[in-house]
């Protein structure tokens, strides 16, 4: 895309990407949070990772309208390749992160061929299938991945050669938050570019998008690859900051959770993933400390209520007692 002149339409697109003062404040607070809430650094790290994962799903679900139940495939791919790289080649976190992103992106590029055709159902099945195949592989190739026991003994070197990962997870939290911030900035620029605008056109009406000359298939392939790369980054961060990778990263509930996170926060809005991640993790933490075993029941109930009340209405409580007089179920 050449940027020789700035046309008015380009300005409108870019104005949406401009930063406001409250956003700067928000990110400053987020980056200060490992210091302010130093005893909760571990969960802050987790939230940042999950937020990054949800953000990557938003690119394909929210901005392009591809329903995917197998996004964990890329998350897991990033986690395992970063962990393996650290174990066998080099313990440097940043290089490992790039490796995780690279392999996940490569996988995404390969898989992007499978989402181009068919209906929502076909895409659900194919994405689900890819996730399951990878899980099956990670399970069976136990000489490489440790099978069902997970990949243990991953030791990370210090970040930038200076900051050691500490037990309280403070460095880990800063690391994840910084990556999240960088990715967020890039993703925002990406979706507010003309390319991002064409994605939304494809989401809203694929046929019309094709008619005005957008090459739908290549755009879908590109955005799928980008989303896969970012999901790989999230997975790599998880493996690096916990020093562990297990089959859990590929499981179906990961894909379902991240979809839920995104939906809680709001689809098609980059802060949606971040907001959803905060709400979801805090909810999970609270509920599972009350009933550790049956936490899935409450999350199920939450999902059902969420859909019945309406996704759009749940995040706007003032519309609950609107014209239709429909009562809300509220959150559990």
């Amino acid at each position: 895309m050449p940027h020789t002149t700035t046309s008015p339409s380009q300005n409108t697109l870019l104005s949406r990407a401009r930063w406001t003062w409250w956003e700067v404040l928000l990110w400053a607070l987020a980056l200060a949070s490992p210091l302010l809430l130093s005893s909760h650094a571990l969960i802050i790290n987790e939230i940042a990772i999950v937020a990054l994962f949800a953000l990557s799903l938003d690119l394909i679900l929210g901005y392009t309208g591809i329903v995917s139940l197998g996004h964990a495939a890329f998350f897991g791919m990033g986690a395992y390749s970063a962990a393996l790289f650290a174990k066998h080649f080099m313990p440097d976190p940043l290089v490992g992160l790039l490796v995780g992103m690279g392999t996940a992106g490569l996988l995404g590029a390969l898989c992007s061929a499978t989402i181009l055709r068919g209906t929502d159902l076909t895409r659900l099945m194919v994405t689900l299938g890819v996730g399951l195949i990878l899980m099956e592989l990670a399970n069976k190739l136990d000489w490489l991945t440790g099978g069902a026991d997970g990949l243990q003994g991953v030791v990370m070197g210090p970040l930038l050669g200076r900051f050691e990962f500490d037990l309280y997870g403070r460095v880990a939290a800063w690391y994840s938050l910084t990556v999240l911030l960088i990715v967020f900035v890039v993703a925002r620029r990406f979706v507010s570019s003309p390319f991002g605008a064409t994605l939304k056109a494809i989401r809203d009406n694929r046929l019309r998008a094709m008619a005005i000359g957008i090459s739908v298939n290549s755009r879908l392939a590109v955005v799928y690859t980008v989303a896969a790369t970012l999901a790989g980054a999230a997975g790599a961060l998880l493996a690096q900051t916990t020093g562990f990778a297990s089959l859990d990263v590929f499981e179906f509930h990961r894909s379902a959770d991240v979809m839920l996170i995104l939906v809680i926060g709001g689809v098609g809005w980059l802060y949606g993933g971040v907001a959803g991640a905060i709400v979801f993790k805090l909810m999970q933490d609270t509920i599972s400390s009350i009933t550790p075993q049956y936490w899935t029941f409450w999350i199920g109930l939450f999902l059902v209520v969420l859909v019945l009340v309406g996704r759009e209405r749940l995040i706007r409580p003032w519309t609950w007692f609107g014209a239709k007089g429909k009562k809300s179920g509220g959150a559990p």
Binding site: L69, E136, Q293, L303, V304, V307, L308
Partner: protein, 290 residues
């Protein structure tokens, strides 16, 4: 070798009963219902509990499992599912995943997470062997029974869908709801009935399959993917599509697990992806349909 084929067919037939209800709701009513496995689990638990607690004979349990799940399906259709027919697929996926999660946790809470065992009656326990050597055919009686039940059901369903008044009403309602309603067909009732029968069939499949597939609270999640494969690969044009897909899947799965156990489910998933990339709407597409 023939034994593997036979077991594969029996397994496929079982998957067919489990999935055919889903193929109707998903394919015809255009609702992505991931909670279908939960109905199957309900049928399975009805059978297990009736047999263990009340000593009801196995053959009596099967229709009860059907009725129980059908009733549950009808109630849920009327209360929860109906408002979602015209919502986007994302909403339907989220809703039915939520329902599945709730079912799993509820079963865990009330019945416990251990695997349940079905005590088959004596006459279903044996095994008949025919032939010699590599071509030996060993038929478990229970698997023969499953095949017989499925064959009867398939013929019955095909008859209902193509020959009866209800079948033609259903097909009309599916093709164009407004016109069907204009012709005096009560679309709501047709969909309610269809959904109930679909859930009932899932329950029956769960009851029949409890012995073969195993029954524990994670059943809906564990087998959800198999039902979905049957429906996605088979297409929704008729019941022959899902039937053939279920048989293919059953044979591929049994043979794959027997010959290359190291790869496990790998064969089935890869087969599905290849088929879906090759024919995104399934192997058999209804002409002129949606």
């Amino acid at each position: 070798m023939l034994t593997i084929l036979f077991d594969g067919i029996a397994y496929g037939m079982l998957l067919f009963i489990l999935a055919v209800g889903l193929s109707v709701t998903m394919g015809l009513m255009n609702f992505i219902n991931l909670a279908h496995g939960a109905f199957a689990m309900v049928g399975g638990y009805i059978t297990v509990l009736l047999m263990q607690k009340f000593g009801v004979p196995f053959l009596v349990c099967l229709p009860l499992a059907f009725l129980g799940s059908a009733l549950l399906g009808a109630v849920l259709e009327r209360t929860l599912y109906r408002p979602l027919y015209h919502k986007p697929h994302l909403d339907q996926v989220l809703f039915s995943i939520g329902l599945t999660f709730m079912a799993v946790a509820t079963a865990d809470y009330f019945i416990g997470s251990s695997q349940q065992i079905v005590q088959l009656p004596e006459w279903l326990k044996g095994r008949t062997e025919l032939g010699e050597g590599a071509w030996m055919l060993g038929m478990g009686h229970y698997r023969l029974f499953i095949i017989a039940v499925c064959a009867a059901l398939t013929v019955g369903l095909q008859y209902v869908l193509t020959q009866t008044r209800f079948g033609s009403r259903l097909r009309a309602a599916v093709d164009d709801q407004r016109v069907a309603a204009g012709l005096g067909i009560n679309v709501n009732w047709v969909f309610l009935g269809t959904f109930a029968v679909g859930s009932g069939l899932a329950g029956l499949g769960g009851a029949l399959g409890a012995e073969v597939l195993g029954l524990d609270p994670s059943f809906p999640l564990k087998f959800m993917i198999y039902f979905l494969i049957v429906v996605a690969v088979g297409g929704t044009s008729s019941i022959t599509g899902p039937l053939l897909a279920a048989l293919l899947l059953g044979i591929a799965d049994v043979a794959g697990k027997y010959y290359i156990p190291k790869l496990g489910g790998f064969v089935v998933y890869s087969l599905m992806i290849v088929i879906l990339v090759w024919r995104p709407h399934g192997l058999f597409v209804r002409k002129g349909g949606k």
